[in-house]
């Protein structure tokens, strides 16, 4: 937050030093210079009032726009922000065209609940995930709902098609964090061959350095892994992926019009640097996810207990102890010890039941779906909170043996 205000301060100082009348600037701007314009008309046979013709006409305009931009060698800049904007635009274009709908409203009520999906009988199309097609579908106990799988495959295919286009190879290298020390194609192919199954599962986990070190995610860089997390989250709401792209641009749009401030530009680079974002987004997400999981586990356990256990069981004693109504604490930090105990108890408790019930508890589709939803939306929430309020001035201390990416931030704060 300090850095954010520092940027504003620098800007405001420059404003007061060099303000020139806006009216004069406006009068001398190129508004009045005879701008070169072109009126275009795609060659198409069309009828007035025919919507299909209109759609074709506008699509041709879009193609024209694309070709013209390519001819001008004025493509989307090969920056991380450019790459992420490219993905966001493609998701929005293709998903929206497939659906005719916009963002997810997971708990919006639908008039006709869908009791089940059968892949062979139902022609699946992209659709927003809702309470009915996400939570209320019982294809199998442990599998993700079919609509989720289908949407995930659409998201994945859009991403891969975009990245495998030769025009976007520089963007792909950016996302891959490729630095030229080995063949990027080999790394990419390895990644493509391994990401498929994990990606369409409900428990696609955010990788961290520890897991990467153990080889679970060694086929992709941390940056690419986080892009995949963002894509996975966008299965629920692809529109919000655009906010992830916004992370890689300066957070404050009040940069200068005529004379960019070197100080502000320097600060902007820090804000949008991966080390800073690792600290402000990825680390935060990694820290909260276990708590969210535990909370869901605990809530799930409570529901099971309330439905099946008698009052005098050990589980219910602890439960009642935890849930003294007037003292019940919803502080997140309080959930971890309670949840870890409840997890231990729930497993022991489940083993004492018959096999079918145990299966239902251990691989609860409801619980997995809830976790997947919560973790995905949590990710977007963290991103949007950062975009709205700016980064926290608290910067973690450097760790021995690890490159200190946050050193510039620490220096600025000092």
């Amino acid at each position: 937050m300090v850095l954010y205000h520092l940027g504003l301060f620098v800007n405001s100082q420059l404003c007061s030093l060099g303000a020139i009348s806006g009216e004069k600037q406006w009068q001398s701007s190129q508004l009045w210079d005879g701008v070169q314009t072109k009126v275009i008309e795609p060659r198409i046979k069309c009828m007035l009032g025919n919507d299909d013709d209109v759609i074709r006409y506008f699509s041709m305009c879009k193609t024209y726009s694309k070709k013209l931009t390519a001819n001008q060698q004025n493509n989307i800049p090969p920056t991380l922000h450019g790459a992420m904007s490219l993905i966001a635009g493609s998701l929005e274009d293709q998903c929206e065209h497939l659906t005719g709908t916009t963002a997810l409203e997971i708990f919006s009520s639908l008039p006709n609940p869908v009791s089940s999906f059968k892949k062979d009988d139902v022609e699946l199309k992209w659709a927003p995930l809702t309470f009915w097609n996400y939570f209320m579908v019982h294809n199998t106990v442990s599998d993700p709902p079919l609509q989720f799988v289908y949407n995930a495959e659409v998201i994945r295919s859009i991403f891969f098609e975009l990245m495998e286009n030769d025009d976007h190879s520089t963007h792909r290298d950016r996302i891959q964090a490729y630095r030229g020390d080995s063949k990027p194609e080999d790394k990419w192919n390895d990644f493509v061959s391994k990401i498929g199954k994990p990606f369409i599962s409900l428990n696609y986990l955010a990788p961290n350095r520890r897991r990467a070190g153990k080889g679970n995610y060694d086929y992709m860089s941390l940056r690419l892994a986080w892009v995949m997390v963002a894509l996975h989250a966008s299965i629920f709401d692809y529109v919000r992926f655009a906010n992830v792209a916004r992370l890689f641009k300066p957070p404050d749009p009040t940069s200068l019009q005529v004379r960019p401030s070197p100080t502000y530009r320097q600060l902007s680079k820090i804000f949008t640097g991966f080390g800073w974002l690792e600290h402000c987004v990825w680390d935060v997400h990694r820290s909260i996810v276990p708590v969210v999981h535990s909370k869901i586990d605990f809530e799930h356990f409570i529901i099971r207990c309330l439905h099946t256990e008698k009052d005098d069981t050990e589980a219910n004693k602890l439960l009642k102890q935890s849930m003294q109504r007037d003292q019940f604490n919803y502080d997140f930090s309080g959930w971890l010890p309670v949840a870890s105990e409840s997890q231990r108890m729930s497993k022991a408790w489940a083993l004492g039941q018959d096999a079918s019930f145990s299966k239902g508890l251990d691989t609860s589709s409801l619980r997995d779906r809830m976790k997947c939803l919560a973790v995905s939306l949590l990710f977007f929430d963290i991103v949007e909170t950062l975009l709205r309020h700016g980064p926290d001035a608290q910067v973690a201390d450097p760790v021995d043996g690890v490159k200190d990416n946050l050193a510039p931030c620490r220096k600025c704060i000092r």
């Binding site: 404003c15 060099g18 303000a19 020139i20 009348s21 600037q25 406006w26 009068q27 190129q30 508004l31 009045w32 210079d33 701008v35 070169q36 314009t37 072109k38 009126v39 275009i40 008309e41 795609p42 060659r43 198409i44 069309c46 009828m47 007035l48 919507d51 209109v54 759609i55 506008f58 699509s59 041709m60 305009c61 879009k62 193609t63 024209y64 726009s65 931009t69 060698q73 004025n74 493509n75 922000h81 904007s85 966001a88 929005e92 274009d93 065209h97 916009t102 963002a103 529109v239 906010n243 792209a245 916004r246 641009k249 749009p253 009040t254 940069s255 200068l256 019009q257 005529v258 949007e384």
Partner: protein
């Protein structure tokens, strides 16, 4: 308006036509972009600029203010710097003209059921007020969509309604004679647009002072717009843009040069302040700068009023 008071539009100039594989175009180098800027659909009570999805490129507003580097490594100055500069090396549209298409906005009961291609929406995500925002902030970030309008071909009758505002009518010399005319029955062609946009006296398309703008209004009395002394010059231009769009359903969209077009339009109507050193404030799409004290954006996502179209 009495038809007899209207003048014939200047003759069509077909020799200027440039053919490409899939499109035909006319190039102009005058200030007619001011007229097209007035025709951009903007929120009925906001600054946001809307158009059908005809431009492939979606980058964010940082583009306006940041230096960019193209793929050849050539450094490009920020678009706003180019816009306010008079240096020849920084010409705003140097080498790349801004492309326009003109379409017609039709009233519909509910645009949400339409194909996305027919929707009229913001090119960039924007922050708008939304009482049901997920985070309780009262804001929603995303593309704004006009709920009560859809885009279609610009009919000749709509085109005639527009030119009549400027005192013109189509004469017998305005029949398009190209071979593919039969492919566009009753649709306004680019020859018509070229003829209309070339018809303006360049001296009148200089609105840098109140007197010059009033001279423009006086030259086109059929517009019926009277300069409001209680408003600033740019607020008057802004109100004129709403005035014209309320009287004809013709709108402009930009397939190529969208960001430059936005800078032109926003600069023209006062969406942002142009100064040498003041920060460019966030695009205030939720503010109404036309008439002081007449409220903020009232519309909500999904229920944006459809605007006034006769």
């Amino acid at each position: 308006m009495d038809d007899s008071s209207l003048k014939d539009l200047p003759p069509l100039a077909s020799r200027l036509k440039q053919g490409h594989n899939h499109s035909t175009s006319y190039q102009l180098s005058n200030n007619s972009h001011l007229i097209s800027s007035l025709l951009h659909e903007r929120g009925p009570s906001s600054h946001a600029m809307y158009q059908p999805d005809v431009n492939h490129r979606v980058t964010e507003e940082v583009y306006f203010n940041e230096h960019t580097v193209d793929e050849t490594g050539k450094r490009q100055i920020p678009m706003m710097q180019s816009f306010v500069s008079r240096q020849e090396s920084c010409m705003f549209t140097f080498g790349n003209p801004i492309s326009y298409i003109h379409y017609q906005a039709h009233k519909v009961a509910d645009a949400s059921v339409l194909s996305p291609c027919l929707k009229i929406r913001t090119h960039l995500p924007m922050a708008i007020k939304h009482s049901k925002s997920r985070d309780g902030s009262g804001r929603f970030v995303g593309r704004g969509v006009l709920s009560g309008l859809k885009a279609g071909f610009c009919s000749l009758s709509a085109f005639m309604k527009l030119i009549s505002l400027f005192g013109f009518k189509l004469g017998s010399a305005h029949t398009v004679t190209s071979n593919d005319n039969a492919d566009y029955p009753d649709i306004a062609r680019i020859e018509h647009w070229h003829s209309f946009l070339s018809s303006f006296d360049e001296k009148l398309l200089d609105w840098t002072t109140k007197e010059k703008f009033i001279a423009f209004l006086d030259a086109y009395p059929s517009l019926g717009y009277k300069y409001d002394e209680s408003l600033s010059l740019r607020q008057n231009i802004n109100v004129l843009s709403y005035w014209i769009r309320a009287r004809c359903p013709v709108r402009a969209a930009i397939p190529d040069g969208q960001h430059r077009g936005q800078v032109l339009t926003y600069g023209l109507v006062g969406n942002f302040e142009i100064t040498s050193h003041a920060p460019l404030r966030e695009f205030g799409v939720d503010e109404w700068g036309g008439v002081p004290g007449q409220g903020k954006l009232l519309s909500l996502f999904g229920s944006v009023p459809s605007g006034v179209i006769c």
